[in-house]
């Protein structure tokens, strides 16, 4: 069989490689592949024990002050991606893929493992509800979800969210809840029928975080370090990629920036350049799987067509961040031995918005405390007191809406290779959240509308649907197998091919779909 070429090593590319490896096929994977985790120190043990003993400037901020770059540049960024040990994730993105933007701040990665290096590891099966508008069903993805569940090690529970999150087979036990999350969940269990009538369901998250040891990886140690460095218990795509490379099951070629492809009767030739020398390179194979991320993949498609006019739709999940206080926890000592990311999930069937939303309750223990200093409304010294007394009583709800909740951005390519993305400001109307806030108040969660934040469009980092799958694909669409219309050997394996973007975190669905498409491509 001629070679299969995969472009990109993120969640989709790695899942596609995994599917091919299971079929005995060794793909070529072309990737820029930055992998230097930086010179920051690595925390041994619990973050808060470490903070008492060590100057954490090099861990949190770094000699180049990248950890405070948002303050220095007066920008709103993504704090985790500024951490010195995480800076490689977005390294060189602005030069390798320059973008002109209006009302959209795209986050791109050229790292080995892509943006998955910095994800929160929320991994949720797509159900038929989530796949409304797709030319496929949950059953088409189910075998791939099963394989991935075994590969990754996903913690979760068979609870009220199971109908929304899909099969529970193979799940590891859920992680330990924080004190605040336990209080909220206990309240929910007492009021679940009432809350269900208000469209609200709570439960444990599905996380690629080990609650028990697996395949030589240690379980979560509740060290709060996952925000600042690679954590062995938190799955990222490089875990699988490293294993496949070590086993000789992927021909991994880093240092290459793919620009375009040309097709022949027999196959496809991929044109790339060496990122150090600029020298061109070409690779020929029987099929091409594009998995460079929705933005990167679309750029390659437009460049291959030399199309500098078409503006394609780009969806993202609009989101809001709602800080909640549990008044009875005010003055508590900080819960320093917890998992520092998602504690609970909610589904809110919103009449006010006419759609299903999904939210994650996060503990606020992993980021620097100073991250919240400027977000409190009191004087500087009083805010310092709130960091001590109020922050340990808080949970942050990140609530995501489906991509259809706001008009799509438009993505086009200019001659010279610069992308242009014209988006829209985050259009979520906070005053329509009243039903949700009232329901959560009954669980002891209090907030003020003035404290609700709307992230900049682009910062949900869930991009999709530029080249959507369709039963009858038009130009710049894919057929149900992921094959690009008009192409014979080119498949879109990442979220660019999504027909819609549900509110649910798309990573797991994208990975299973990439496996499905890779399997089809392997069959020619």
């Amino acid at each position: 069989m001629p070679d299969i070429i995969i472009v990109g090593s993120g969640a989709a590319g790695t899942a596609a490689a995994l599917a091919l490896a299971r079929l005995g096929i060794r793909p070529i994977m072309l990737d820029v592949g930055h992998s230097d985790p930086g010179a920051g120190p690595k925390v041994e043990g619990n973050l808060y024990d470490y903070r008492k003993q060590h100057d954490t400037f090099d861990l949190f901020i770094g000699a180049g002050f990248q950890g405070v770059s948002d303050v220095l540049k007066d920008e709103v960024g993504v704090a985790k991606l500024n951490a010195p040990n995480m800076a490689f994730i977005t390294q060189d993105a602005e030069t390798l893929s320059p973008v002109e933007t209006i009302d959209f701040d795209p986050i791109q990665s050229f790292a080995r493992g892509g943006l998955g290096n910095g994800w929160g590891a929320g991994l949720y099966r797509f159900t038929d509800d989530d796949l409304a508008g797709f030319p496929l069903h949950a059953a088409d993805l189910a075998p791939h979800f099963d394989v991935l569940t075994g590969e990754i090690g996903i913690s979760g529970a068979d609870d009220d969210l199971a109908p929304y999150f899909g099969a529970t087979a193979g799940l590891l036990p859920p992680l330990k809840l924080s004190h605040n999350a336990e209080k909220v969940y206990a309240g929910y269990r007492r009021k679940r029928e009432t809350l269900a009538r208000r469209g609200l369901v709570l439960g444990r998250p599905r996380l690629g975080v080990l609650s028990v040891a697996k395949d030589g990886r240690a379980p979560c140690d509740y060290s709060n370090t996952e925000f600042w460095q690679e954590a062995p218990y938190l799955y990222t795509p490089p875990v699988t990629l490293k294993r496949l490379i070590a086993a000789g099951k992927v021909d991994y070629r880093p240092g290459l920036l793919v620009q375009s492809w040309t097709e022949t009767a027999e196959g496809v030739t991929v044109h790339a350049s060496d990122i150090r020398t600029g020298q061109p390179a070409a690779f020929t194979g029987g099929a091409l799987l594009l998995a460079a991320g929705a933005i990167g993949t679309t750029k390659i498609v437009l460049a291959s067509q030399r199309d500098y006019e078409t503006a394609l739709p780009l969806l993202e999940n609009p989101a809001v961040q709602i800080p909640f206080v549990l008044p009875t926890s005010i003055g508590r000592a900080l819960d320093t031995h917890v998992f520092g990311l998602t504690q609970l999930n909610l589904i809110w069937e919103s009449d006010a918005f006419g759609c299903r939303t999904q939210g994650s309750f996060l503990e606020l223990t992993s980021p620097m405390r100073a991250e919240f200093f400027g977000r409190f409304p009191l004087s500087a010294r009083a805010n310092l007191g709130l960091l001590r007394d109020l922050l340990p009583a808080m949970l942050l709800l990140q609530l995501f809406f489906p991509g259809s909740a706001q008009p799509p951005a438009r993505l086009s390519l200019k001659e010279g290779g610069v992308l242009r993305i014209a988006g829209h400001p985050n259009t979520v109307e906070i005053n329509r959240l009243g039903g949700l806030l009232a329901a959560l108040r009954s669980l002891g969660l209090w907030t003020l509308p003035m404290l609700i934040q709307k992230p900049v469009t682009g910062h949900a980092i869930h991009y999709a649907s530029t080249l959507p799958m369709s039963e009858a694909p038009a130009r710049y669409q894919c057929d149900p197998t992921g094959k690009l219309a008009g192409a014979r050997h080119v498949y879109v394996a990442d979220s660019a091919g999504f027909s819609a973007l549900p509110a649910k975190n798309m990573s797991f669905g994208m990975m299973a779909n990439a496996m499905r498409i890779a399997t089809v491509a392997a069959q020619g």
């Binding site: 808060y48 903070r51 008492k52 003993q53 060590h54 100057d55 954490t56 400037f57 861990l59 949190f60 901020i61 002050f65 950890g67 405070v68 303050v71 220095l72 540049k73 007066d74 009875t328 005010i330 003055g331 508590r332 000592a333 900080l334 320093t336 620097m368 405390r369 100073a370 200093f373 400027g374 409304p377 009191l378 004087s379 500087a380 010294r381 009083a382 805010n383 310092l384 007191g385 709130l386 960091l387 001590r388 007394d389 109020l390 340990p392 009583a393």
Partner: protein, 139 residues
């Protein structure tokens, strides 16, 4: 042309005043060094006129906590709030400062009392800050 000969030379004074406003004490030398370096970087992104105005106000004011609070709500001195945030990040990295940021002993009553005191302090400081800003504008 700047009315302030070299704003960067004022960064040490600025660092000491901001640290005292937030934490109420002498700034540790290593935090001061880092603040000066970071502040110089930050200043490069600021227009000269804004920087002149900022440094004049900062040097003349004897209650930066009040001025910053009023400035935050009136959006008059965004640079001052950025410098406060910068100082908070830098100060948090020192082990000796952990007690400012992390509560290790639970006390519901104490937490409520401190939060209430913070709210009263804020009311006082914002009134004072507005007065300071008004006086500065007329100076």
């Amino acid at each position: 042309m700047s009315l302030i000969p070299d704003p960067c030379s004022l960064c040490e004074t600025e660092g000491r005043k901001i640290y005292a406003a937030i934490f109420g004490g002498e700034i540790p030398p290593i935090v001061l060094d880092r603040f000066v370096s970071a502040s110089k970087r930050l200043n490069k992104s600021v227009l000269q006129a804004e920087m002149d105005s900022y440094y004049r106000g900062m040097l003349a004011c004897n209650d930066l906590e009040a001025l910053e609070l009023a400035a935050r709500y009136t959006r008059r001195f965004p640079l001052l709030s950025r410098k406060f945030r910068l100082m908070a990040y830098l100060a948090e990295t020192l082990p000796a400062n952990q007690a400012f940021f992390v509560n290790e002993r639970s006390s519901f009553i104490g937490g409520l009392a401190r939060s209430a005191a913070g709210a009263f302090r804020t009311v006082y400081k914002i009134l004072k800050g507005l007065w300071l800003a008004r006086r500065g504008a007329h100076a």
